[in-house]
Symmetry: C2
Subunit: 325 residues, 2 copies
């Protein structure tokens, strides 16, 4: 610690990804209308963000298209309807493919034929082998690739070492810390960042941070990761994401000192698109999500509770969780 104020400066290599459509789509089965997705796309570009994650590359067999919107699959024609003559040299587009839920050999086509620049491979530790195959495939197709080990707070020490070693040897460019349950706080973030960084040391690979806001710590944990040198961070507009939602992109943009980031277009999106969206679907650091975050649980029980008959009976939800854990 010195007496200077490093927060007045910035690292040009720090990149922001907005995954509103991808993570937010988990609330509404990716049934966004085109106007919304176009507005998010325009906003990401105007705000100077580095990446926009526009959805999943997941399987139509597992997620039938009469139930899910097109951002569950990110077919080329759907993306082009939104982004037109997309300039890949500015805002880059990303899609996520889940191990075990994606026809990735078919769905991930050559990058030169796609508007996408990046594929993020999401996987649980037991899916490591498929994830490594997916990473190789996406890399061979010409994409930048991220490895997103989900729910890291459930992963044992030994398993984490194995995942990090395998990703280190893979062509993935970034390994992302994913706090799916919003369970982490500062000291735990520190240990994970250092561990991921040490595992990737000397490879030129980046470490990333994807936080959830169950304990109102998504932004703080993202800042913490940035302070420790993490150069890939995720946000969503107004925090839209499953359950408690994510780190708010507007807070990140407002905090970062790179003059290319602009807050005003983000604020415009918040009032024009996100407030009406929040009337239709629910997310945020509500009490039931505080509770699942505290107990390191998947948010599904809280989501079900909020959709039930007594969404505001926090004590009954707490008693149910305590009885179950």
């Amino acid at each position: 610690m010195n007496d200077k104020a490093p927060w007045l400066t910035y690292r040009p290599e720090l990149k922001v990804l907005d995954c509103t459509v991808r993570d937010g789509g988990l609330i509404n089965k990716h049934q966004f209308d085109d106007a919304f997705v176009k507005a998010v796309y325009r906003t990401c570009a105007e705000a100077g963000l580095d990446y926009m994650e526009i959805g999943y590359k997941n399987s139509r067999d597992q997620f039938p298209s009469d139930e899910f919107g097109c951002w569950k699959y990110c077919d080329e024609e759907d993306m082009r309807r939104i982004v037109g003559d997309h300039d890949k040299s500015q805002l880059k587009l990303s899609a996520m493919a889940d191990a075990g839920k994606s026809d990735w050999r078919k769905q991930i086509i050559p990058q030169s034929d796609s508007v996408l620049s990046m594929i993020r491979v999401a996987f649980y530790d037991h899916q490591l082998s498929e994830a490594i195959e997916m990473i190789h495939h996406a890399h061979e197709m010409g994409y930048e690739v991220c490895a997103n080990l989900m729910a890291v707070t459930l992963v044992g020490e030994t398993e984490l070492d194995q995942v990090l070693e395998s990703v280190r040897e893979s062509p993935a460019g970034t390994m992302v810390i994913v706090d799916s349950f919003g369970h982490l706080f500062r000291e735990q973030v520190d240990r994970l960042v250092k561990r991921y960084q040490e595992a990737m040391a000397g490879t030129g690979k980046d470490v990333g941070m994807h936080a959830h806001n169950n304990l109102q710590l998504a932004f703080a944990n993202t800042i913490e990761a940035i302070i420790l040198g993490v150069n890939r961070v995720d946000g969503t507009m107004f925090g839209m994401g499953r359950g408690a939602g994510n780190c708010h992109t507007e807070l990140l943009v407002s905090f970062l000192r790179n003059p290319k980031f602009k807050l005003r277009p983000v604020l415009k999106l918040l009032q024009e698109q996100m407030l009406p969206m929040r009337e239709k679907v629910e997310w945020g650091a509500l009490v039931p999500f505080n509770i699942t975050g505290k107990y390191n649980l998947h948010p599904r029980s809280a989501i079900e509770w909020r959709a039930g008959e007594t969404p505001d009976d926090f004590v009954a939800f707490f008693d149910k969780i305590i009885a179950d854990v």
Copy 2:
């Protein structure tokens, strides 16, 4: 940094103060009905909190009683109506007195005649001399005393040194870091905590943390202070407090590992009292409060905006703030 998990243990000397009625009362001119204040009091006791701040000891001349509720003055009979035969050995009661707004020589009576155990003296740096007189008076009357230098993010380095030196030499038992505008983030909290701790070193005085939630960082900054050794922390139920509100007591209680802290009674209060209260008055990390926090501004402009005709026109508010700063 070691490999152990200190977050599984606790420091018995870490004390939690709930200031829902005091700070939350700034939203509704302290016009709470008795049932609400009684419920907060009962909850603080059941949750194992150490202190409840029940209001201000401020002047009836400046704050007429036809406009403000009784918690602006904390007269003995009003407090006794709520707390009855209060047991000072368990939950301790506190009131805040503002320099420049309090008839403190009259209002702060001997502690042996009061249900209060603690007085917190709130002051801006230019009011230091009166604050020191108030601290001496409250100490002589038998109270534990805290010194709360407000809006520390506006205080110059030289002025802060003077305040810390004067408080060090005073009979105050605790010096509180008060981030009135919710502007601080992690690295700034670190520097302030270390500075306050160094200034108080060897005196046995504690350092405290009072955070506001403009940037969704109140809980994170409070955790940060705790990690660095701060032993006095403030929260409010559901975060109720002026503007963006405060660190949520329920998050603190849930986070701290001292088994005496109980979350369940707090959850009960949230659903029975705080949800209906939030329907009547507004607080929280809303976008206009994000913006005043970012620019280190008093929240009053955002409070006025939210009460105006276009509360959700975030862009217009942003443009106005940018034009003014």
